[in-house]
Symmetry: C3
Subunit: 184 residues, 3 copies
Amino acid sequence: MGAEVMAARCSRLRALSQPRRSLLALTAAGDRAAPSPEVMENEVFLSFTFYSTILIIKMYIVAIITGQVRLRKKAFANPEDALRNGGLQYHREDPDVERCRRAHRNDMENIFPFLFLGAIYSLLGPSPTVARIHFFIFCVGRIVHTIAYLLQLKAPTRSVAYGVAQLPCFSMALQILLATTPYW
Amino acid sequence: MGAEVMAARCSRLRALSQPRRSLLALTAAGDRAAPSPEVMENEVFLSFTFYSTILIIKMYIVAIITGQVRLRKKAFANPEDALRNGGLQYHREDPDVERCRRAHRNDMENIFPFLFLGAIYSLLGPSPTVARIHFFIFCVGRIVHTIAYLLQLKAPTRSVAYGVAQLPCFSMALQILLATTPYW
Amino acid sequence: MGAEVMAARCSRLRALSQPRRSLLALTAAGDRAAPSPEVMENEVFLSFTFYSTILIIKMYIVAIITGQVRLRKKAFANPEDALRNGGLQYHREDPDVERCRRAHRNDMENIFPFLFLGAIYSLLGPSPTVARIHFFIFCVGRIVHTIAYLLQLKAPTRSVAYGVAQLPCFSMALQILLATTPYW
């Protein structure tokens, strides 16, 4: 029976994902390309992957902005960097640099857990529409959070963005717990 | 031969996990629900997922406590938050807030690597009992670490909790290296 | 047809990975060991896992060094630790400790996103050779970054190591976006 089950499951997967597989197939056209595993045929997982990568790139941009602000304000965390950029007097703190660093740290506190929760949640077989709403709200919330932080928008813009982005995270965490509590 | 192997493997998996699959099946009852991939039939992985999610929720709770301490002690990292909560004089540091932040940072340094190590270790096919002991020790160690940090328990309670929680991490890291060194 | 496809795919995988599977098989020899999922037969993913684990161990070493520097320089972040190590006067900051902490934080900002990007990239079916070059450059870049940070090497050694390590990350992020944009 196993073989038929696998075959049926396989073709169901194919029916779901075929019209959109062209790009993945292209990507996989390397010399000795490994076959893409089942998870990469799960469209919820692929959607999660898209939003996650956007947010990681957003974090990289915050890091680049931090470096630019350090150069512009001449405020370096390390004496060796200050020496190279004008002298030891620039080995100092700056409120704008600290603001960038707080934004980055808050991203780590919230986006990294999302990378885990979103991946597991995708594998629980949620409705693709509901799942996409989760990912989209988180992604927009975190982008607004960063903009509000860096542009110093009036409170509570930043806190509201943070809170809204936490909602899908709590929802996914609860759904994962519901599904995995029997396995503790 | 491949088909029989797959079939046998499939039924072995089913025998292992059938009595406990009801919740996952329920979760998967969405409109166009994607079928759950193989990894979600791996009970070690599901156990890992449970403990990881508990620890992520624990981190969210530390974030909420930090916010509450900021409001109670009137100590805000951003001038825009201070302005909304009484005035710029509350744009200041506070030792209790810094304590919460150190606890949160230590969590990031240790729980995030666990999310990776535990996932890969689960896929190496460890004994479920031994794997659960790994996850359980880490989870309890990190919860005790947070309690010791926030309640300022006498040293070395916090350090011992940290050290105990690192043991399963080192064990998992070594087992992953043993299994993957041929592929470097 | 499904069964034959699965069988063919299965044997192709086996042909790719058989000579190197002995260690994984050994690891899987537990009492009720779960069968290793497809992803653990993907050699690019296994290579990624190897480099990631090396980097996580590297981060643990930075944490251990931080603790040793705290003890040697007698600079503790918490009064309860200072009390146990000579008195409250040692509840203070130290530039060498702060240096270690900055190195560790920079690792979190960059190695944790790699754990995500590398895993997804591995599943896109890249050429194993190209993938290994990505992982190797990142790994060496981050090790040099840590050495340059802790030994206070002349600028811009550390920044160059950081920049070089970011190249494979940007490459992987772009490839993931290319493959997953249709699923947003």
